[in-house]
C-alpha cells in the first residue's frame, strides 16, 4: 500500500438535518465500513444533534463516568461510541462535531501522534482564518490560548480509518459537571473547567454564530482538499437505523464496560 495524499481522493461532504445520538453512533460505524469496503468515497460528515447526549468512549466505565440520575433528570441520552477517548457532553448547538472517513493509505507510515495531527491540519488552518491561534496538543486535543477547543478519536477498520472530533462551541459547564463524573486525575489537566460557568472557546474567540464557524471550516476543507456535496445513501441509512435501534440502543453495548 502506497501512502496517498488528500488530493489523491475525491472527498465527499455529508451535512444533513439533526439526528438522534444513537443514529450518529451507527452512521460512524456504517460509513467507516463503507469507505473501507470501497463502496463510498472518502467523506467528511458534519454532525447536527437532535437531542442532548452524553457520548462515552469505547473503554470508559459507564458508572464511573456518568451520573445516571442527573442525566435522566435533564433528559439526556447516554450512548457509547466505537472509538476510545473521553466523554462528550452534547446539547444541540453547544458543540461542533465532525467525522472523517478515510482510507488508511492516507496515514500510512505515520505514528499515532502524527496521524491525529495530520487529520486536523485543515481545522487549525480554518481556526486561523477565524482569528484563533490553535495548535495540536498530543495525544488527541486541539487547544488555543483560550484553552482546550477540541478532542479527537480514531478507529481503524478494515482499510479505513475513522477520525472524529468534537469542538466546544458554547458548553454549560455547570450542567456538564452535574452529569459527568470527572475524576480527580482527569481534572489535573482540566482545572479551568470547574471554575468557569461556560466552556465557550469557539463562541468567545470568534464572536460568530456556530453556523458561520462550520461554514468557514467546510470552505477551508474544500479549498485545501477538494469536496463535493453528498448524502447518506438509502442502503447506508437503513443499515445505520437498524444498528441505532439495535446495538447502539442496547443496554449490553452501553454497559459493556460497566
Amino acid at each position: 500500500m502506497m501512502r496517498t495524499d488528500w488530493r489523491d481522493h475525491d472527498w465527499r461532504l455529508i451535512h444533513t438535518i439533526p439526528q438522534s445520538p444513537s443514529l450518529h453512533m451507527a452512521l460512524d460505524d456504517v460509513l467507516t465500513h463503507e469507505v473501507g469496503a470501497g463502496r463510498r468515497k472518502p467523506t467528511l460528515r458534519i454532525w447536527e444533534w437532535a437531542a442532548p447526549a452524553v457520548v462515552i468512549g469505547r473503554f470508559q466505565s459507564l458508572r464511573n463516568e456518568v451520573d445516571a440520575d442527573a442525566a435522566e433528570r435533564y433528559g439526556i441520552e447516554v450512548v457509547r461510541r466505537v472509538s476510545g477517548g473521553g466523554a462528550m457532553f452534547i446539547e444541540p448547538g453547544n458543540t461542533i462535531t465532525y467525522s472523517i472517513y478515510a482510507p488508511q493509505s492516507l496515514i500510512k507510515g505515520l505514528s499515532f501522534q502524527e496521524a491525529y495531527a495530520f487529520f486536523d491540519e485543515w481545522v487549525l488552518q480554518a481556526l486561523g482564518e477565524l482569528g484563533i491561534k490553535a495548535w495540536y496538543q498530543p495525544l488527541n486535543d486541539i487547544t488555543s490560548e483560550g484553552g482546550k477547543i477540541a478532542g479527537a478519536a480514531q478507529v481503524h477498520r478494515g482499510g479505513a480509518v475513522l477520525h472524529h472530533v468534537t469542538m466546544a462551541y458554547d458548553i454549560d459547564a455547570a450542567k456538564m459537571l452535574d452529569v459527568l463524573r470527572i475524576g480527580r486525575e482527569k481534572l489535573s489537566d482540566k482545572g479551568t473547567v470547574s471554575a468557569a460557568k461556560r466552556v465557550d472557546p469557539l463562541r468567545s474567540q470568534t464572536g460568530l454564530p456556530r453556523e458561520a464557524v462550520i461554514e468557514r471550516m467546510v470552505a477551508t476543507f474544500r479549498r485545501l482538499h477538494g469536496l463535493s456535496d453528498d448524502a447518506v445513501r438509502p442502503d447506508e441509512q437503513a443499515r445505520a437505523e437498524e444498528l441505532a435501534l439495535g446495538k447502539f440502543s442496547s443496554a449490553t453495548w452501553l454497559a459493556d464496560v460497566a
Partner: protein, 96 residues
C-alpha cells in the same frame, strides 16, 4: 478496590478489582485510552485475573504484555500504566 493512573503524555487508566484468597478477581480495566482491536480489553482483564495480589508492577505488566497479540495497538495506554493502576487499587496509594 479502585485505582487510577494517568501517565505523563498518556490517558486515564482505571482499574477496579477484588482480592480473593490472595489473588486478583473481577478485574475491570477502563479509561479514556485508545486500544484496538477493542476485544483486547477482555484479554487484558483475563490476563490480570488470578494474579497474586503480591505481584510486583513488573510482573503485572509482563502478564499483560504476554497475553496480548502483537498486532494490538495502544495509544495513551501501556502494560506498565495498567500495572501502576492495579498497584494503586491494591494498595490504596495516593496520587503520585
Amino acid at each position: 478496590m479502585h485505582g487510577e493512573y494517568k501517565m505523563l503524555g498518556g490517558k486515564l487508566v482505571v482499574v477496579d478489582l477484588e482480592v480473593r484468597d490472595g489473588r486478583l478477581a473481577d478485574v475491570r480495566l477502563s479509561g479514556d485510552f485508545f486500544l484496538e482491536p477493542d476485544s483486547a480489553l477482555r484479554t487484558i482483564n483475563a490476563a490480570l485475573e488470578d494474579q497474586p495480589a503480591q505481584a510486583t508492577e513488573t510482573e503485572l505488566a509482563n502478564a499483560v504484555r504476554d497475553a496480548l497479540p502483537l498486532d494490538v495497538m495502544m495509544y495513551g495506554l501501556s502494560p506498565e500504566a495498567i500495572a501502576v493502576a492495579v498497584h494503586r487499587a491494591l494498595h490504596g496509594e495516593a496520587e503520585a
